[in-house]
Amino acid sequence: MVMGKFLAEPDADEPARPTELAPEEVSLLMDGELDVDRVDRACRGLRETASVETWVCYHVIGDTLRGGCGLAPGFAARFAERLAAEPTVLAPPRMRPAPAAVAWALAASVAAVGVVGWVALTTMPVPPGAIATAQQAAAVRPADVRRPVVNEYLLAHQEYSPTTAIQGVRPYLRAVATDTPDAPE
């Protein structure tokens, strides 16, 4: 989702050559904490320098923390290659999704995993070689990667949402179905 957004963004009219991003910048960008005026330059940096490796590495760490890391090395490159070779799909598939649709669905779910991973990344410094540590952490307390606080906010939000009015108590399933019930004290 996020990477797709960057690809879709028009090139900024910046004459300056893109420079390698500092790891802190990549981290800030992933968290959405990068200053707005630096975002365009950072995105160009990701597209045109090797910084994207840092970006991928951070996401792999996030995925690993969540216990969902199953991609072979070089997946991103091969994926991008195959995606580029696919014809553009102009209409949503009806009966059987075309390969491109499957790829997009995969990309979307991968992006979603990445999104969850960011949360973990923000609370700790992440050296690129941290995957083994991350795996250990994931084995011990995988639930920590999800956000336990969300429940409090979600319950407070739910009562005002029109979806609750339309569907009754059903949306409360979101609050009891996942996450730990316990907010940190």
Binding site: L155, A156, Y160, T164, L173, P181
Partner: protein, 333 residues
């Protein structure tokens, strides 16, 4: 805000009275608006009324993020109003009990009961007239196919967003009763990201009051009850505002509330486009490290960021870009 509060309060008391007479089966007749099913707001209102006034019991499947969770839902109306019980059938036997405005969540695995005080869901129908333009301005509303859901004939309706700031919604309503039997949130590629669907349901049946009482009654003595204080939500101007609100959203509630686990009151602002809502929470930055950035569960996206000495958390049934934009435009007057 003040006007809508009054409207909300008026609607609540009206619905409380209506709930009392619904047992005689005339509430729905009194309350049903002269709306056409082609009119998005009128149709939503009918669905909301059906959900509130009918007796029904069924098995509900909730799918999100590659997970499938099944639960049992029972809803009944008697002379005292509305009662609803939802029990998780997978994993820990958590349950949600609603008696009119009060919602209680039971977490037996954690030995916790959470009691949400008065809810504002009843305010919804009265807010609709204000939101009419919004719905038409930001969603294409259309009737879709007739389809079978849970063995019943349903009519599907689609709310297709006109911009990227909201998800698509596809809703299937029972042709006979108007009750929603299936609801999907769709992303910009028209793929479902979250789905609630009844796999079987009985509508209009007789349901005993006992069926919708909590399983854990009284709760074991070692359980912790977390109850918000009465008057928990104090409606007032918080001084916080959203400078760049996505188009179509308008503020429906603003005030302070206490959240468990939080020392200081939390400012809570709610914005709605008539179909979904986004909540903005602002609180003093907690001592403990906080998760910052975007997270997501099914159709819910959450964005947290630090703003000087405050923690801003934005949550809603919208795409991540929407909660992010709101989070970054929160400011103090």
């Amino acid at each position: 805000m003040h006007r809508s509060n009054r409207v909300a309060a008026a609607a609540s008391s009206r619905l409380a009275r209506l709930g009392a007479c619904a047992g005689f089966g005339i509430g729905a007749l009194l309350w049903l608006p002269a709306a056409h099913a082609d009119d998005a707001a009128g149709w939503l209102q009918q669905a909301a009324v059906a959900a509130r006034q009918l007796n029904y019991a069924g098995t509900l499947v909730y799918q999100h993020d590659g997970r499938v969770e099944t639960s049992r839902v029972v809803h009944m109306v008697d002379a005292h109003g509305e009662h609803e019980k939802l029990v998780n059938l997978d994993g820990p036997a958590r349950e949600v009990i609603r008696d009119n405005d009060q919602v209680r969540c039971y977490y037996p695995d954690a030995k916790i009961i959470r009691i949400e005080p008065r809810t504002y869901r009843n305010a919804f129908p009265s807010l609709l007239p204000q939101q009419l333009d919004t719905l038409a301005g930001y969603y294409f509303f259309r009737k879709a196919e007739v389809a079978r859901v849970a063995g019943l004939e349903t009519q599907a309706y689609v709310f297709e967003p006109k911009d990227g700031m909201r998800y698509g919604h596809k809703l299937w309503a029972d042709l006979a009763s108007g009750l929603l039997l299936k609801a999907q949130l769709l992303n910009d590629r028209n793929l479902p990201i979250e789905q609630f669907v009844f796999t079987d349901i009985q509508i209009g049946i007789r349901i005993e009051r006992e069926t919708v009482r909590p399983t854990y009654r009284p709760p074991p003595t070692d359980w912790e009850t977390r109850e918000s204080l009465p008057g928990d939500v104090v409606q007032q101007d918080t001084g916080w505002l959203v400078k760049e609100l996505p188009p179509g959203f308008s503020k429906i509630v603003e005030g302070y509330r206490t959240l468990r686990g939080k020392v200081a009151p939390v400012a809570h602002l709610v914005f709605s486009d008539g179909l979904v809502a986004v909540s903005v929470f602002v609180e003093p930055m907690p001592q403990a490290p906080q998760p910052i950035g975007l997270s997501q569960q099914g159709g819910i996206n959450v964005y947290s960021r630090q703003l000087n000495e405050h923690l801003v958390t934005v949550l809603g049934e919208t795409p991540g870009a929407t909660v992010r934009q709101i989070a970054f435009s929160v400011a103090h007057r």
